[in-house]
């Protein structure tokens, strides 16, 4: 399998939870860790299971699961905060497999690692799955399309 196919397949598997050991993909998923050039961690968040590769082949849209809050109405996400985000890698270095993770050298100079979620990020992913059960099918599909720059509706 070509290197590109390998990392893309791994990326897809991580988000879908195909690495689950329980037989149920929903029991796991992926998290995103972004490191600044100085090695400082800039972001650590679970990823929703949807993604969309950019037309130019140099990036992918994902949805880091941020903006969750335990409210009187249960655990909710602010969909204005949990917006789509772009991971764009440099021309010079394509994403690659490193151990269980897909590693990307981002155009921002940062390094992104998509890897199996555990601990706090897995809990947040579970909360997200539960939260999305509140959405209408139309809302759910809108999130999956990853095409909106802002969210105008409930939970914003």
């Amino acid at each position: 399998m070509a290197a590109q196919q390998q990392w893309q397949q791994r990326f897809l598997d991580l988000l879908a939870g195909h690495h689950s050991t329980t037989g149920d993909p929903v029991d796991t998923g992926a998290r995103l860790v972004v490191l600044n050039p100085d090695g400082q961690e800039a972001l650590r968040a679970a990823l929703a299971r949807h993604f969309r590769f950019m037309d130019d082949g140099q990036g992918v849209w994902v949805r880091p699961l941020v903006g969750g809050d335990d409210t009187g109405e249960g655990y909710l996400f602010n969909l204005g905060i949990a917006r789509r985000r772009a991971l764009q890698w440099t021309d010079a270095t394509d994403p690659r497999l490193v151990d269980d993770a897909v590693v990307m050298d981002l155009v921002t100079g940062q390094l992104a690692r998509v890897e199996p979620a555990d601990a706090a990020e897995l809990t947040e992913l579970n909360r997200w799955e539960e939260f999305t059960d509140r959405l209408t099918q139309e809302e759910d599909l809108a999130l999956r399309r990853l095409d909106a720059d802002s969210w105008h509706g409930r939970f914003s």
């Binding site: 329980t22 037989g23 037309d55 809050d69 949990a82 059960d133 509140r134 099918q137 809108a142 969210w151």
Partner: protein
């Protein structure tokens, strides 16, 4: 020394725009309403608006008067040579002589023309009863001159329920872009009128000097509260969790159109077993039985989906009961009394007005109390007589760990009821901030400031010298006025002298503003390729007044308005877009604005739920809306606003962009901020190629006014029809000069 007479200043009258006429009204006494005379040894002083430059610092001499011998201080002021008239304009700051100097930081700071504030000015407004030191000649001169009218009128009664409020411009530069908004929220107690603005970091010291913050400590109080909670047995047996696990697993298969897995079936069975055990337990109470049955009913639905598949499951809530409980809460209690003459402020966790926008009526309402939590610190300020303010200080909100977009936000709240519009502005004086509408002369100062920042001219040769000269003009004017009024000043005690010095400072700032504008305009002109200020001011793109497009006030940049064709050509084949995806396009257009996260909060849109270090509130992007540069030929899909002529927006001076996803970062302390990548250059923005590029416009865009999109792509013919009907009912037939039928299209039209 000059004479200080009117004729001596005429040679500095600002032309040729005619908009920058000297603001000729005398400086108003603090705490004295316009038009009201105040008796004093020197005669009457002041009517009309307090002048521009109220926000500007006292020269060091004036500040030093607070603690030093009065006569000696005055003497020191008079020992400095020169006069305003003797200071040439603007000879000493040629490009060859002055090294480039950083004046404006690239972040979203106040325009670079601002000077740091000093605490010395902060007592403005403390004591309006101090005698005036002006003379008869001055009073006569004042009468002869015309009042410079405000650029934006201040409504006495802002329209009730109007979500975007009424934008106004406040004089000086205490406020970012000199902007404020008056909003009257509908409420059962009558309108809740609020002034919302963003104090510049440089003006913060003045504001803080008006406050007394004795500090607080937390005390526990017991309050009765209704709480919803799960039964103890539910939590012990984890019935809710087991049911949710089964639901989530099955739901996943339904949504992904996957076959039901053994794992899903096992999870369901585990939940059924646990719930059945409770149902079959004779020792459980009726409430507990009801709880178990609630879950069993849900699990029956899940079982059906396991067997038959079909549409995803509906939202299944846990079983909860409402109970009244005594809850211990912590409240902040002041440690002591406020200092006399200051406003008492208490420190608390930051929050935002939690308004609500009625989608049916389009009205914003707020009860005057409910607030949503934010990540940071704020002061609640008691202004007396039922007036309050809330301020979120820069110094208490570390940009690396709190919401960047809330820093400097100020709310002034009137008592419930209508008619406080003008008082809301006047009351800014209590906070030691400029409290008068902006005049045309001040407007040009703001315009130049914005252009320096937008065009990146702050480091241009000659700019620093121009700023120094501008400040020098003011200092000299102060000296001249002190000299003229020496006799009256010498007899004053320290407090009175301070007040008079502040008055003189205000007057000096007002008098020299046209000259300062001329100096800086000349520097800006030379930095941008004009022979001088006169040529720049006469150029067709020079528009030193804001554009009012219904809901926003925006300032333009002359490098775009003067080169419209070049900018349009640069964007040839490229559009600016914003996608709301499957969002409520009709609802968005009913508000008429594409508003920033912060604006949406004040309008009553958004839950206020959630917080993240990645939030736009942390990067500072929450003060802007995000657009993207895309090929015009690309299929935008439904729910997209398209500006096929981006120059309509590029004329604004308040945008910045990244050729990539930087979360709209303008907070230099945020890791997504990049000084190298950020740009305000429209020509660079026109070349953005990344699919994740972003262009941020402060506040938002008026979708129905001059900034209207050229295409609004609906998701369906039905949605288009609905929006057309709404436009028709509101009398909206054209957008941006095009019939609405041509602007509204559906995806297939493209």
């Amino acid at each position: 020394m000059g004479t200080g007479s009117k004729s001596s200043h005429q040679s500095y009258a600002v032309g040729p725009t005619a908009l920058a006429e000297s603001p000729t009204s005398p400086v108003e006494l603090p705490n004295v309403p316009a038009g009201e005379e105040v008796a004093g040894p020197g005669g009457a002083v002041g009517e009309g608006p307090a002048g521009p430059g109220v926000q500007e610092p006292l020269p060091d001499h004036a500040a030093s008067l607070q603690d030093t011998d009065v006569d000696a201080a005055l003497e020191s002021l008079l020992q400095e040579p020169g006069s305003v008239e003797e200071l040439g304009v603007p000879g000493p700051m040629s490009a060859e002589e002055e090294p480039p100097t950083q004046i404006a930081s690239p972040e979203e700071a106040e325009p670079p023309l601002q000077e740091p504030s000093e605490a010395g000015l902060s007592a403005v407004g403390d004591d309006g009863a101090v005698p005036a030191a002006d003379d008869e000649a001055k009073a006569d001169e004042v009468d002869e001159e015309e009042t410079d009218p405000p650029l934006t009128p201040v409504p006495a009664e802002p329209p009730v329920g109007e979500p975007t409020g009424t934008p106004i411009l406040v004089g000086g530069d205490d406020f970012i872009h000199s902007e404020a908004t008056l909003i009257a929220y509908a409420s059962p107690d009558g309108p809740r009128e609020v002034l919302l603005t963003h104090v510049s970091e440089e003006a913060e010291e003045k504001l803080l000097d008006a406050l007394s913050i004795p500090g607080t400590h937390m005390e526990d109080i017991e309050v009765e509260e209704e709480v919803k909670e799960r039964l103890d047995l539910d939590k012990q047996k984890k019935l809710g969790e087991l049911t949710t696990t089964a639901v989530t697993s099955v739901q996943h298969k339904l949504k992904e159109h996957l076959p039901m897995s053994e794992a899903s079936i096992a999870k369901h069975q585990a939940a059924v077993d646990a719930v059945s055990a409770v149902l079959n337990d004779p020792g459980v109470s009726d409430d507990e039985k009801a709880m178990a049955q609630h879950y069993m009913d849900q699990l029956d639905v899940v079982k059906d989906k396991i067997a038959n598949g079909g549409e995803p499951l509906p939202w299944m809530q846990p079983y909860e009961v409402t109970a009244t409980k005594m809850v211990t809460k912590q409240v902040a209690v002041p440690n002591g009394e406020p200092e006399p003459g200051s406003l008492e402020a208490t420190v608390r966790k930051a929050s935002r007005i939690k308004a609500e926008l009625d989608p049916e009526t389009g009205q914003s309402s707020w009860d005057g109390v409910t607030r949503s939590q934010a990540n940071g610190t704020e002061y609640e300020i008691d202004m007396g007589e039922g007036w309050k303010a809330v301020y979120r200080p820069y110094k208490e909100n570390d940009p690396s760990s709190t919401e960047y977009s809330l820093r400097g936000q100020l709310e002034v709240h009137a008592p419930a009821g209508a008619g406080h519009g003008k008082d809301l502005v006047e009351r800014l004086e209590q906070l030691h901030l400029v409290n008068k509408p902006m005049t045309a002369a001040e407007g040009e100062w703001t315009y130049l400031s914005n252009n320096i920042q937008a065009q990146g001219l702050s480091q241009a040769a000659g700019m620093k010298a121009a700023m120094e000269t501008a400040q020098g003009l003011e200092d000299l004017q102060v000296q001249e006025l002190v000299h003229q009024r020496m006799d009256a000043l010498m007899g004053l005690d320290s407090d009175d002298l301070q007040t008079q010095m502040k008055r003189i400072q205000l007057e000096a700032a007002q008098k020299v503003l046209p000259m300062k504008v001329e100096v800086v305009r000349d520097a800006v002109a030379k930095a941008s390729g004009f022979s001088g200020g006169a040529e720049l001011a006469a150029s067709p793109g020079y528009e030193p007044t804001p554009t009012t497009s219904g809901r926003w006030l925006t300032w333009s940049r002359f490098d775009v308005t003067g080169k419209q064709e070049e900018v349009t050509k640069a964007f040839s084949g490229r559009s600016l877009t914003h996608s709301i995806g499957s969002g409520d396009l009709a609802g968005l257009l009913s508000t008429g604005v594409l508003a920033s996260t912060e604006k949406r909060a004040t309008m009553g849109i958004g839950s206020g739920v959630g917080m993240s270090e990645q939030d736009d509130k942390m990067t500072g992007g929450a003060n802007s809306v995000f657009l993207r540069v895309q090929p015009t030929s690309s299929d935008p899909g439904g729910g997209v606003l398209v500006w096929d002529d981006p120059s309509v927006l590029m004329r604004r001076s308040d945008y910045y962009g990244y050729n990539g996803d930087h979360y709209g970062a303008i907070n230099p302390d945020h890791h997504n901020y990049s000084a190298e990548a950020i740009t305000r250059d429209p020509m660079k923005i026109a070349k953005f190629y990344s699919g994740a590029n972003e262009v941020m416009f402060r506040g938002g865009l008026d979708l129905l006014g001059a900034e209207a999109p050229s295409r609004i792509v609906c998701k369906s013919a039905g949605e288009r029809k609905k929006i057309l009907a709404s436009f028709s009912a509101r009398g909206i037939n054209e957008l941006g000069g095009k019939p609405v039928e041509d602007v509204l299209c559906v995806t297939d039209d493209n």
